[in-house]
Amino acid sequence: MARKMNSGFVAWLRRDLLLAYRRRGEVASPVLFFMMVSTLIPLGLTPEAARLGEVAAGMIWVMALLATLLSVDGMFASDYQDGSLEQMLITPQLLPLPLLGKITAHWLTTGLPLTLVSPLLGLMMSLPSAGYLPLLCSLALGTACLSLVGAVGAALTVSLRKGGLLLSLLVMPLYMPVIIFGTATVSYAVDGLNWLPPLALLGALLAASVALCPLAAAGALRVTASN
């Protein structure tokens, strides 16, 4: 029985990772996606290194946000359709645990790759060198927040059979603080200021999200999915 205690978390985490990486080609695709979007930006704006460098951090953050939105939408949709969600709701485990497993899998497949390639993106967009470390740290914390908050939105909209746009509407306001502290971390660093305070705030946001979001998502799922 002890083996089973937290198996809700591990089982769902493992399953979602497996689903994400069913195909070999897939592993690279989040990384390529981010590289492509960061090619779009110079094409849309300007190829001049100096001006790109100014907007680099902000753009990478906006990108992270959009990539999360693009993918968080599907977090429960297919599970809802094929009945897996119903099964999740009637397991004896505490619902937030399997949900945290799913959210972790989501972050590992979107937020983490983005964080890891961000130095490369910074290079492509001529980010000043003082910005790399803060960018990496703030993305790591921030994208986890985005996944957690996104999960609540996804849970709220899952039974509506809607696209991701309604979801974006719900969660975007909640994303604002993340993006503000995230970009502040980098711009403080570039301007030579102490960038730990905004990073600490981001950390606090993350802590709060970890504590609250799975609960909120669980509540939302109980209401919407049993309809």
């Binding site: 080609g25 492509m36 094409l43 190829p47």
Partner: protein
């Protein structure tokens, strides 16, 4: 889609020509000679280029990267067309072998593109003082890498070999239509934003002693490309035809020896 329908019987000879087994045996005979030729030409070009060509007036020895960089960039671009043509032949005449050629061409092309980008980036640091610059040609090359990546990803995404081949052939064709558009538009974007402040070393005025080895290297790269493509394709043939009797016999013969 008429071009997806069965070819007429008069094309039967063409099918036999494209039979994997025939290709496997024929290419087995050519391969040693082709490899030897590629090796000789490449060695010749490298030694000539790296050891004997004169030093560049402005860039010193770092310019010698050109002997890798330019041939790789060249092949990366033609590689896409080779891949797309193979795909088109597959769609039109339903030749299995051409799908295999297409599948093999994708990673080779992607690696060459990456080499061009990488050598360019390494070269860029001493020349421009930055690893990455949004120059028109560089950007086109990056987009080409993405196009390759798309074809490769689609190949791996499908469980069914048949669907994977046809889907990526269609994507490769759509990509080919787009490559000239992309190149033109990127050029135009670049000139719009900056009237060519950064110039690549003036190619036309390149010294003949520098240029000849480059030409040799390009020929060498073509030969090398052919060898790589044939090797990859042979591998792919064995993988896809592993259940047929002739591959089994081949395997038994190998094991027997």
């Amino acid at each position: 889609m008429t071009w997806l329908s069965n070819g007429s019987p008069s094309w039967q000879w063409f099918h036999r020509l494209g039979s994997p087994r025939w290709f496997y045996h024929r290419s087995g005979r050519w391969l040693p000679w082709l490899s030897l030729a590629a090796l000789l030409v490449l060695l010749n070009g490298l030694v000539w280029g790296l050891a004997f060509a004169p030093e560049d007036a402005k860039q010193g020895n770092s310019f010698r990267i050109i002997y890798i960089h330019v041939p790789a960039a060249f092949l990366a671009q033609s590689g896409y067309f080779i891949m797309a043509i193979a795909g088109a032949i597959g769609l039109i005449w339903k030749m299995k072998i051409s799908y295999m050629v297409m599948k093999s061409a994708a990673p080779i092309g992607a690696v060459l593109t990456f080499i061009a980008l990488f050598t360019g980036a390494v070269w860029g640091k001493p020349t421009w003082g930055a690893y990455w610059v949004w120059d028109a040609r560089i950007t086109s090359m990056l987009i080409l890498l993405f196009l390759y990546a798309g074809v490769i990803a689609l190949q791996y995404a499908y469980h069914s070999v048949d669907a994977a081949s046809k889907a990526s052939a269609i994507l490769a064709l759509v990509g080919t239509v787009n490559i000239p558009i992309i190149n033109k538009s990127v050029d135009w974007w670049y000139t719009l934003h900056q009237p060519a402040t950064i110039k690549l070393t003036s190619a036309p005025s390149m010294h003949m002693d520098m240029f000849m080895p480059l030409l040799v290297m390009i020929v060498g790269f073509y030969l090398f490309y052919a060898v790589a493509l044939i090797l990859h394709t042979r591998n792919e043939i064995l993988r896809r035809e592993r259940k047929t009797s002739w591959v089994r016999e081949l395997a038994n013969a190998k094991a027997g020896r």
